[in-house]
């Protein structure tokens, strides 16, 4: 991988990187089983694709949906999900990316980790909570574009959930990253609701499928950088807010690897079940072909989608904050600590540990 002048103030690089993305079917609430399953999938993907970077979906310890079991899926920032990503990165000598609901200080975040083989860690907290995720976590504030030493110090953008569809994400990363990566856990509209809702819900579901199929290519063209996205698939049954009827639906994200022109190099759709894909992408100076519009969302979202998201987020944020104030979240029984969002290389025996106190004095 060689260096050459880029379009931004940062030095950009050129080179080719083999990327693998894992599409996973995970059970809500079953954190330990899910992590074991993920480990198997990652090892399998590495055996087959020999990647330098392998990514798994966001919230991969458990799908973050509205389910009572979700109250118990958050783990400390240095808990088992982080250990899994960190250890596999070291052992397999690759960069491993994956997400989980992380307990950091006194909040939960949907955190996505890029773990490097030399012990470097890059953490990104989702900056916009999703419709369902707002029931479980707070929004983060970091810029999500770490430089990844194992990829030739390339600036890599990280996006999860609704960050993928938001124009602000494109602005945050525009001309600043050479690869965009991250994951999705995207429940669709209910499939079990009867008339008069059924046709409407079916239509919205079809729109979501199309929207998420096109999304990685759209983002690649807007950023002018290759994109790798990993999604959760399968069916889930959610608790519908302020209603008794359950919300049975599918997770509809796609797992794709796309080059900087938006061409799909490898793909798994929601109906393909779980598996993994691999492709080689070229890292180079960003060459956006599509403009960033003044709209809030990159794709065109239906009114129903926007209204549903707004209502669910309102309900979720109220629920999360009220329970937090009343200390009703089960994770609040865990002593709180945090890691820095950027951690340097180090010996595996002497990793920085999550501590409490001011971040400025935290182990790096």
């Amino acid at each position: 991988m060689s260096k050459q002048n880029g379009t931004s103030s940062n030095t950009l690089l050129t080179g080719r990187v083999q990327v693998a993305a894992v599409q996973a079917r995970l059970r809500p609430g079953a954190v330990e089983d899910n992590l074991i399953h993920l480990e198997d999938l990652i090892r399998d993907a590495v055996r087959e694709h020999h990647p330098s970077l392998v990514i798994v979906p966001e919230e991969a310890a458990s799908p973050a949906v509205n389910d009572p079991a979700l109250s118990y899926v958050a783990r400390p920032i240095d808990g088992a999900p982080m250990q899994l990503y960190r250890q596999l990165a070291r052992e397999l000598d690759i960069v491993v990316g994956g997400g989980f609901l992380a307990h950091r200080s006194n909040h939960l975040y949907s955190t996505y980790v890029l773990a490097e083989p030399d012990g470097r860690l890059h953490l990104h907290d989702k900056t916009i909570t999703s419709a369902w995720g707002s029931h479980h976590c707070e929004t983060g504030r970091d810029n999500g574009r770490p430089r990844v030493a194992a990829l030739g110090d390339a600036p890599v953008g990280v996006a999860t959930g609704w960050e993928w569809v938001r124009t602000d994400t494109a602005r945050r990363l525009h001309h600043r990253v050479q690869l965009l990566t991250g994951g999705l856990c995207w429940p669709s509209f209910p499939m079990n609701w009867k008339s008069p809702f059924a046709p409407w819900m079916r239509r919205e579901h079809a729109l979501q499928l199309g929207l998420l199929r096109e999304l990685p290519s759209q983002m690649a063209r807007v950023l002018g950088a290759p994109v790798a996205i990993a999604s959760q698939v399968g069916t889930v049954s959610l608790r519908t807010p302020v209603a008794t009827v359950p919300w049975r639906t599918k997770l509809v994200g796609e797992t794709q690897i796309v080059d900087q022109a938006g061409t799909v190099l490898a793909r798994l759709g929601p109906d393909d079940g779980e598996g993994h894909i691999g492709a080689e992408v070229r890292l180079g100076p960003p060459q956006p072909t599509d403009p960033i519009t003044d709209r809030t969302w990159i794709p065109s979202l239906s009114r129903t989608t926007r209204a549903t998201r707004r209502a669910l987020r309102l309900h979720g944020a109220l629920t999360y904050r009220t329970k937090r104030l009343m200390r009703l979240h089960p994770w609040q029984r865990w002593p709180a600590a945090d890691l820095l969002s950027e951690i340097g290389p180090g010996d595996p025996a002497e990793q920085p540990v999550a501590t409490s106190g001011p971040a400025s004095a935290r182990p790096r």
């Binding site: 330990e32 118990y72 000598d93 865990w334 010996d347």
Partner: protein, 509 residues
């Protein structure tokens, strides 16, 4: 076929045995691995205050230890200079109102016996090779048996009780302490035969505070043996090694009361020394693993609390998790809460040790507190060591203020009152910072308490071993490894260090 158990504990001494007994008694299948063959010695202060003896009783090891005829010491004597003397009884911890000082060869053997009696499978001469992981959790260990053959054993919980140079700590990534403080004092000690055996003096734990030097005498085991210990500045250890007799005579000359007490001692053993005693806290819990005893936390031996805290941490851990082993999430939460509880238990004595290890004369207010307390034989200052009360409880702010006022009014030394007040104000600030930390109760706080924690700590150094010994490098890694690259250092350096330790331990024996 791989073996399975509920809990695998690495290390079968104080903390390991203390954890193994309640777990095995609760019906858990417990396997304990230890690289030593018992009886085996260990560098230690050897002293157990009533709370420590009580822990031995809880484990079920006390009867066996008492069978070795140790001296039970129900008295403690603090002697500050030549004028102040306080003698009081220890406050009872449960049914125990005496101290014991038992060589580790005897004590650790009884602990292993107790663990076996409770049903734990203790395997001697078994060495940990690595921790096994699954789904981000510690899932067991690989160990080498006495023949060197390696085996895997899977467990719901991996417990590291393998001391300051804990291999488990390095395997779980927690070897580097997140908080540490350098010791100011070194230990120089020897055993002798006590002519006062059978008298009250022969059943009293002595502390001699003379200038900036500390002297101790502990009636020991078997009856008639006593441990004599000086804690001067850490640098003095070099002098003690170079000229043992000269150093000993010099220390006795500046400790006339201790010289008087040890007069007539016979059968003196050679001097033993150590000055590598920086205190530290390591992250001690994680998914499926926990570090107990010195593996997770070590405090300055000047206050002799290490043994009690090791057993306490093992026992409390076992009681916290015995019913949760089948629920990984609840188990991990309980482990983290246990770590929080351990810190709350140990932070006051950690700071007490940091203060005591300062090489300074006894603060005047403290001397006055000792003087005033000497008017009654009831348990009081001994609680600092007996752990019946914490340092902030024993040295309350009104009491410190009273001590300062008395020191200024009495004015026995040549030091100006202003200097006494300045020093007391500095100490008071430290006490306030400690109280603030205890009140805030942060988890794994890495914020140093100024005045208590000393800079440039030297906790045990990690010596790299072969990286991921049984992990096959990825094809890419093999491809990209440059020709002629030598493998990472193997266990050689560490083994050499361990051999050195073993020699030290043999010397102690």
């Amino acid at each position: 076929m791989d073996e399975k158990c509920d809990v695998v504990i690495v290390g079968s001494r104080l903390a390991g045995a203390a954890a193994a007994v309640p777990l095995a008694s609760a019906g858990c299948r417990v396997v304990v691995l230890d690289r030593s063959r018992f009886p085996s010695n260990q560098l230690s202060t050897h002293l157990l205050f009533p709370a420590g003896v009580h822990e031995l009783k809880r484990i079920g090891a006390l009867e066996g230890i008492l069978a070795n005829d140790p001296v039970r010491s129900p008295w403690v004597s603090f002697q500050v200079g030549e004028k102040i003397e306080l003698s009081e009884r220890w406050r009872a911890s449960g049914p125990i109102d005496y101290c014991l000082c038992v060589p580790r060869t005897i004590q650790d053997l009884e602990l292993v016996r107790a663990a076996r009696a409770a049903g734990a499978d203790v395997r001697e001469k078994h060495r940990l090779v690595r921790v096994l992981w699954r789904g981000g959790r510690a899932a067991g260990v690989r160990y080498a048996d006495p023949t060197g053959q390696e085996h895997d054993i899977y467990a719901k919980l991996v417990v590291g009780a393998d001391g300051r140079r804990s291999t488990v700590a390095s395997e779980v990534g927690a070897f580097r302490p997140y908080r540490a403080s350098r010791n100011g004092r070194g230990l120089v000690f020897r055993y002798g035969r006590d002519p006062l055996v059978g008298t009250r003096a022969g059943r009293t734990i002595y502390q001699f505070w003379e200038g900036d030097s500390l002297g101790f005498l502990f009636p020991s085991t078997p009856r008639g043996t006593a441990l004599m210990l000086f804690m001067g500045a850490a640098d003095e250890v070099h002098r003690a090694k170079a000229d043992p007799d000269g150093y000993w005579a010099e220390k006795l000359a500046c400790h006339p009361r201790m010289a008087q007490r040890v007069e007539g001692m016979t059968d003196l053993t050679p001097l033993l020394t150590t000055n590598q005693t920086s205190a530290y806290f390591r992250a001690s819990s994680g998914p499926g693993w926990v570090l107990i005893g010195d593996a997770g936390h070590f405090k300055d031996p000047v206050i002799g609390q290490g043994q009690r805290d090791a057993m306490w941490s093992g026992r409390v851990l076992a009681e916290s998790v015995a019913d949760l082993l089948d629920d990984p999430a609840e188990l991990d939460r309980a482990l983290r809460q246990w770590e929080n509880q351990r810190d709350a238990e140990c932070i006051p004595s950690y700071h007490f040790g940091n203060i005591e290890t300062r090489v300074e004369p006894t603060p005047h207010p403290l001397a006055e507190i000792v003087r005033r307390s000497s008017r009654t034989p009831k348990p009081d200052l001994g609680d600092l060591f007996g752990r019946a009360r914490s340092m902030p409880q024993v040295l309350s702010l009104p009491r410190l203020a009273f001590g300062l006022a008395s020191a200024v009014v009495r004015k026995e030394s040549d030091i100006p009152s202003l200097a006494i007040v300045r020093q007391a104000t500095r100490d008071l600030r430290v006490q306030l910072r400690i109280r603030y930390e205890l009140r805030v109760g942060r988890f794994r706080s890495h914020i140093p308490v100024e005045g208590s924690e000393h800079p440039n700590p030297q906790p045990p150094a990690y010596r790299a071993r072969a990286k991921n010994r049984n992990v096959q490098p990825s094809p890419r890694a093999r491809r990209e490894q440059p020709q002629g690259v030598r493998p990472a250092p193997t266990g050689g350096a560490r083994d050499a260090a361990d051999t050195h330790d073993a020699r030290t331990q043999e010397a102690t024996a």
